[in-house]
């Protein structure tokens, strides 16, 4: 008993409950701090969750139910796919979605491929100006998409590439590549050269070594790079808004952004489309969370 109290007291000392007036016992103070922590966590959890909850509920309720009476009804009483049906019947949502998938898939592949090759090359080969290259990559990483979008618009305009999904794919890769390159550049440095050397000594060609030894080891790196490139392209509004101007070419973000101006589309359908746009990122968060966090630890994502 006595030793227990003693231990608790030592722990309190360590946690800093010494000095000053002791109106409360150490244990109460510690409990209070614990309660405070949980309150903070709860408030943040609520702050984060409520808008998402609102989205899900409204997406699956008919507007009549949601807006019955004066107040918004947020305690679900029905599940209906009506909003999704309206969305697909009266808007080009399916086309927008397909365009987004095409552009995002293309840009993820392109950005990751460039990052892997460039990252390997920059790590394993020495040349003058590497420091400058590093600065250039990071500088472009901080670049404002809108400041890049204007020149790209002009260049695409003079090449007749406006309204072209391939041009948008290139533009989006321009936004994501600086970070994916940086990430792979750092990642390859954690792959010991000894791994490759032992393969060379055994007679494997450099190419084979890259394919059979380096790439498997670097997998977590390029998965986080791909997630980042995916997020940039899927979330993008700026580039698509500037490069595209035809309804059938719009990506889901640009297409859906017009819904609020349309009479036939209300909040119910807007929340339904929001949910659709959110599904791919949600799946990533669910399955690839750890890779995503790896990306953060390398120096942040946009």
């Amino acid at each position: 008993m006595a030793s227990d109290t003693e231990r608790a007291a030592t722990a309190d000392v360590a946690r800093g409950d010494v000095g000053g007036d002791h109106l409360l016992s150490h244990r109460t103070q510690r409990r209070l701090r614990r309660v405070f922590l949980y309150v903070v966590a709860l408030v943040v959890a609520t702050f984060v969750t409520i808008p998402v909850y609102v989205m899900v509920v409204i997406a699956f309720q008919s507007p009549a139910t949601t807006f019955a009476g004066g107040n918004v009804n947020l305690l679900p009483s029905e599940v209906t796919l009506r909003n999704f049906r309206v969305l697909f019947d009266t808007t080009l949502t399916a086309t927008y979605f397909r365009n987004s998938l095409l552009v995002t898939g293309g840009s993820t592949l392109l950005s990751t491929a460039i990052a892997v090759t460039a990252g390997y090359g920059l790590t394993r080969f020495d040349f003058r100006g590497k420091g400058i290259a590093a600065r250039a990559v990071l500088f472009t990483y901080m670049f404002s998409p809108i400041v890049l979008a204007i020149p790209l618009y002009v260049v695409f305009f003079s090449l007749g590439l406006l309204n072209n999904l391939f041009a948008l794919t290139l533009a989006l890769s321009a936004v994501s590549a600086p970070f994916t390159i940086w990430l792979m550049w750092q990642y390859f440095q954690t792959v010991p050269i000894a791994l490759e050397e032992s393969a060379w000594v055994r007679g494997a060609s450099r190419w084979r070594t890259v394919w059979d030894v380096v790439l498997p080891v670097a997998r977590p790196g390029y998965i986080s790079a791909a997630i980042f490139a995916f997020a940039v392209a899927w979330n993008d509004f700026t580039m698509a808004r500037v490069v595209l101007s035809q309804d059938e070419k719009y990506t889901i973000t640009v297409g859906a952004s017009l819904f609020l101006d349309r009479v036939s589309i209300g909040w119910a359908e807007t929340m339904a489309v929001s949910l659709l746009i959110s599904i791919p990122p949600f799946l990533i968060a669910l399955f690839l969370q750890n890779y995503l966090l790896q990306g953060f630890s390398v120096g942040g994502l946009e």
Binding site: Y38, V154, F237, S257
Partner: protein, 307 residues
């Protein structure tokens, strides 16, 4: 250029090896160079060129730095610049504080911490458009739940159209942005916190340090670098942010939330003055370059990638 690690071992001849290495080098670096040339270097140089012309697309007239003078002396410039700073500073500082508080809390290993960490990914991964939809709904004057509660609790006399009043538009945009971007600071700081050796705290404990002293002498020094990076990088990105503001307020009401990126867009696509738009983009570019100098003295990229 030369290869660092040449080995003559193996069955192949040296020349063969060098050839395949050179080819590998080419495969690695040529796409990179080509890509940067096509999507970065050429457009930016082209734009810098355009910024020296009046009506550069149809009937170019060389005006030297006239466009720069015009956009900087324009009435809207000071307002847009001020708004950019206000927006960047407030969103960055609030995101940092929120992220830091939560990272410290979760690092105490509270129950449900893992679930909370997962929850924090959602705002970050939700596309900006969705975030705007959600907050426009939550803050809506007629149906928004926040307005409902604020009026019910007597904090406000009547509902407020947050995104379209002069006083509230900027705070509403800031809240929306912080909601989305606090996780950025949170994840970086949490990663740093979790990399601190627990023995350090144990030793401090044995020596009788208070928890404030432990924070000041152990936690904070470990976080300082990360905090600096967050302030700089997040600050730069928020200064440059276009989509969140454009989608929520289009820069309005009047020019209350017009920042420099919004102005660049307006000048380019509403006034169709590409010379001036690229000049303003150029001003932002040079401003960014100046901040980058600070950034590169804090953060030394060359050490990170050649060490």
């Amino acid at each position: 250029m030369s290869t660092t690690r040449e080995r003559t071992g193996g069955a192949r001849s040296l020349t063969e090896r060098v050839d395949s290495t050179t080819l590998l080098l080419a495969v690695c670096l040529v796409p990179l160079a080509a890509f940067f040339l096509v999507v970065w270097v050429v457009p930016i140089l082209y734009a810098l060129g355009m910024s020296l012309f009046e009506a550069p697309v149809r009937n170019p007239q060389f005006v030297g730095f006239g466009n720069y003078v015009a956009v900087v002396t324009d009435d809207g410039f000071v307002n847009a610049f001020t708004n950019s700073i206000v927006y960047a500073v407030s969103t960055t500082v609030l995101s940092l504080l929120l992220g830091l508080g939560l990272a410290l809390a979760i690092n105490q290993r509270i129950r449900g911490g893992v679930a909370l960490r997962t929850l924090m990914i959602f705002p970050y991964l939700l596309p900006t458009l969705v975030v705007i939809f959600l907050w426009k709904f939550v803050l809506d004057p007629n149906i928004g739940i926040l307005n409902q509660y604020l009026v019910d609790w007597g904090l406000f006399e009547e509902p407020i159209a947050f995104f379209s009043t002069l006083t509230w538009a900027m705070p509403a945009v800031v809240i929306t942005s912080v909601w989305k971007f606090a996780s950025f600071a949170f994840f970086i700081l949490l990663a740093r916190l979790q990399s601190i050796d627990p023995d350090l705290y144990e030793r401090a404990r044995v020596e009788g340090a208070s928890s404030w002293q432990a924070f000041r002498d152990i936690t904070f020094p470990h976080l300082r670098g990360a905090i600096l990076i967050i302030l700089l990088v997040r600050g730069i990105w928020m200064f440059n942010k276009f989509d969140i503001i454009y989608l929520s307020t289009r820069g309005g009401p009047l020019d209350a939330t017009t920042t420099l990126p919004i102005r660049v867009f307006e000048i380019a696509f509403e006034q169709v003055a590409f010379g001036q738009a690229t000049a303003l983009a150029g001003v932002m570019f040079f401003f960014l370059a100046a901040v980058a100098v600070v950034y590169f003295t804090v953060f030394t990229p060359a050490e990170e990638v050649t060490g």
